[in-house]
Symmetry: C3
Subunit: 346 residues, 3 copies
């Protein structure tokens, strides 16, 4: 997509100094700019790049005055960083609006309905009795089982698998190849050493404005629902087991795993590669550091946890520091022993 500098200035309520007819077709960091790119300058630490940038246009604060000649067109706006973010959002929206209609072949099961202005890509599969809202995008090669509900303006990226009975709210995004609603991992040991699968008949409920990364897995509940509350953001390769509940606006980074029936509070921040055990309760506003292993419930709000088994961050750092001092401790003990020996011999 291409715009002129002038069109962008108009969109952002800005004023152009320089060539308003220059063509913009991409964005770049100011230090990496090329002709056709637009960049921004907000932190004056980066001002020197303004005079050397290859970008065709740069957004600057309206209070800014350049000290040297600038070859790029300048667009003066109230807040260059905010304007740049707005520009990115508009650009993304414009790009995404391109997809509409149905590409064939696509499978759409009996009894299913889909709202207006949606997209279903080629080789996508929608089962029976699904209710799909307005402006929903279902990319190519997606699989959606039976009795699934998807709210308005949600985006299901290519290769996502959604099992029967899953409910997804409005404005959710699920990235490629994630699996929603596969069986929970439940097996009853038998007398002969084998295991028998416990039927997993529950579902997954995903509320509104949830984002789920690529290749993530969220298992259905044994009975009842695995629940992802509104505003939750989940990264790639995350495992959410059966009957888990993730509270509103909680953020979970890549490769973390939450075991069965655990309940994570609201507004938590869980870093990457964390493991959380089963049947635990984690309070609101808890922070968990990378690779931590949470083995018990933390019901007090606002804690920062780290380590395996996870405990209070400060105690964790103190212990880590002491482990690093062990060679010195050993010397001090040896020294004490030597002295005592010599005093014994007195």
């Amino acid at each position: 997509m291409e715009f002129t500098v002038g069109q962008i200035a108009q969109l952002l309520n800005g004023t152009v100094v320089g060539d308003a007819s220059a063509i913009i077709n991409s964005v770049a960091k100011i230090e990496e700019g090329k002709p056709g790119c637009i960049s921004f300058l907000s932190n004056l630490k980066y001002e020197s790049y303004l005079y050397t940038t290859g970008s065709s246009a740069v957004l600057v604060d309206s209070t800014f005055t350049p000290k040297k000649d600038v070859s790029a067109a300048l667009i003066y706006v109230a807040n260059a960083y905010a304007a740049f973010t707005r520009l990115l959002e508009e650009y993304q929206k414009a790009m995404q609006q391109g997809k509409q209609g149905i590409e064939q072949p696509a499978h759409f099961g009996e009894g299913s309905t889909m709202g207006e202005q949606g997209y279903r890509g080629a080789f996508s599969y929608v089962g029976r009795n699904c209710i799909i809202g307005q402006k929903v995008k279902i990319y190519p090669n997606v699989y959606i089982g039976d009795n699934v509900q998807i709210g308005d303006e949600s985006i299901i990226h290519t290769g996502v698998r959604i099992y029967d009975d899953t409910q997804i709210g409005n404005q959710c995004t699920i990235f490629a190849n994630s699996v929603i609603g596969g069986d929970g991992f439940g097996f009853a040991p038998q007398a002969d050493g084998t295991y028998r699968a416990i039927p997993q008949l529950g579902n997954v409920i995903i509320e509104d404005r949830v984002s789920i990364g690529s290749n993530t897995t969220i298992d259905c509940a044994t009975i009842g629902s695995t629940v992802i509350r509104s505003g939750v953001k989940i990264d790639n390769l995350v495992q959410i087991a059966h009957n888990v509940e993730i509270g509103k606006n909680t953020v979970i980074a890549a490769q973390t795993g939450i075991s069965g029936s655990t309940k994570i509070g609201e507004q938590c921040v869980i870093a990457g590669q964390v493991g959380v055990g089963g049947h635990l309760v984690i309070a609101n506003n808890t922070k968990v550091g990378g690779q931590a292993g949470v083995t018990k419930s933390f019901k007090k709000e606002g804690l920062s946890l780290n380590g395996t088994p996870a405990h209070d961050l400060k105690a964790h750092l103190r212990n880590q520091s002491l482990v690093r001092q062990l060679p010195e401790f050993e010397k001090r003990i040896q020294h004490l022993e030597k002295k005592q020996d010599s005093s014994d011999q007195d």
Copy 2:
């Protein structure tokens, strides 16, 4: 699917007290029941819910006598919990039997054969010279390469990828987007710093009644076979490298990784996010705790391991507790030093 309370009682050899014509179309925990649901009461800790539940029917032990009025229909059976599990299994079986026949378009390569009563979903791909047993379900968007064998009653969920020459036994289940038989990670370093891929010409053999979760990867052997023995249960996002062998009835939880050529015994239980190094041997009945890192072989049966590097659970817990006591140790050493100093000055 809908049944009457009376039909369910008949299936479970139970006796109804209450409305045998009430319609049941779902299951629920007794505390979360709604009209149309069936629940069970086994542990009397939950008896109070019986008198308030919204469920239309509740399974109870034949020895049970309610203390108050119950609005739900009661179905008396020998063992309420066992009957409920049986009901779930029958329900699941009934649901799954719905899928049969071939949805078009589906690709089925030259020389391949498939037994009776099977299902192949739309956009599924079966390569050449495959032998697929009876009552096998191949969901939409599945890919199966050439020369693959799949035994009777196995279920290959949507998006699963099965590479050439893989052998899968009877009654196996592979959940969505798992990859069976991708190349092992083997590269020979060259003099110029580059790596050259070592051809991976072996295959994967999966025996009977194996369950594999979603987004799991099992690599083919370099030469020979990566082998998953009968009854093994593997969770989501697990990595099994080339030439690994997993013994009968071993259970592996989510996000665990087993490195190349390692042999895990029978009836082992490996928790989540565990890493096991390459070329190791782990004896039968070994238990490995979450996030442990196994760096050497453990050939004695029945051990419980934890920590990184993994060692005996008891020693691990003792060490963990001592690490937490390090601040106190430091004080004790300081105290000893002070005393010794003062005695030196005597």
Copy 3:
């Protein structure tokens, strides 16, 4: 595919002793050989298997003289191990060359072009304005977005998802169900506790001869590019976040995660389940041990790191050993205290 022993000998410049007309259709380790297989003997530790092997042919060094009768045909070559590796490579090449042409239905978007001798499998999807080189193989159920470039002789395995604007070089291999170019995990916290997605408008650049395993995820850059340099080898279930750069010929084992904006040097070897924090710089030739957690930059080349937080391997091993000695330390401190107590009472 089938060959005679004589044909294989000719390919490898070898001399046959035994039945040159025997049919070979598979490879096996010498101790696991069956009729129809070819094996090799290089390390004389395995010589006894030569006299009992079921293989139809065995490659041996030209300097080798058997001590007993051998039922297999022997192919004498200059270096049996090198010849066997060559044979595997030829075999793999022959197998892969089988795939050519276009299987229908397959989607190929407007403005896209593809070079000669390529393969596009059934249910594969190529978006608009893609430039695909010669001899490229795109397996069934692959999704490729818009404006994607793929160089000559690259292989995109089944179920791979490649987002818009991705650039892939020559002779790359991406295994099943990996996702290239999904959104980076970037969210701006809002005053009301919700998060707003930061548009991710960059792309992924993968240079030449890169290998990427199954179910791996590589996110696009926020602005600019996530870059995987030539010769990099990445295993299964690996997470590469937005704006990361991986240097030439670096090897990354399974389930490792690299956080946003981190730059890994050339010729590094990163083991499995490692976590590397964001905005770090790791120098060339760094080695990182399994499950390590790298929390700061290491700008000196050639270090070996381990532990969480990762530090020098030697110091790590020393600390680990001291932690294991803590029970003994405790005893030594108790002993000192007792002695001091008794001397106090003197």
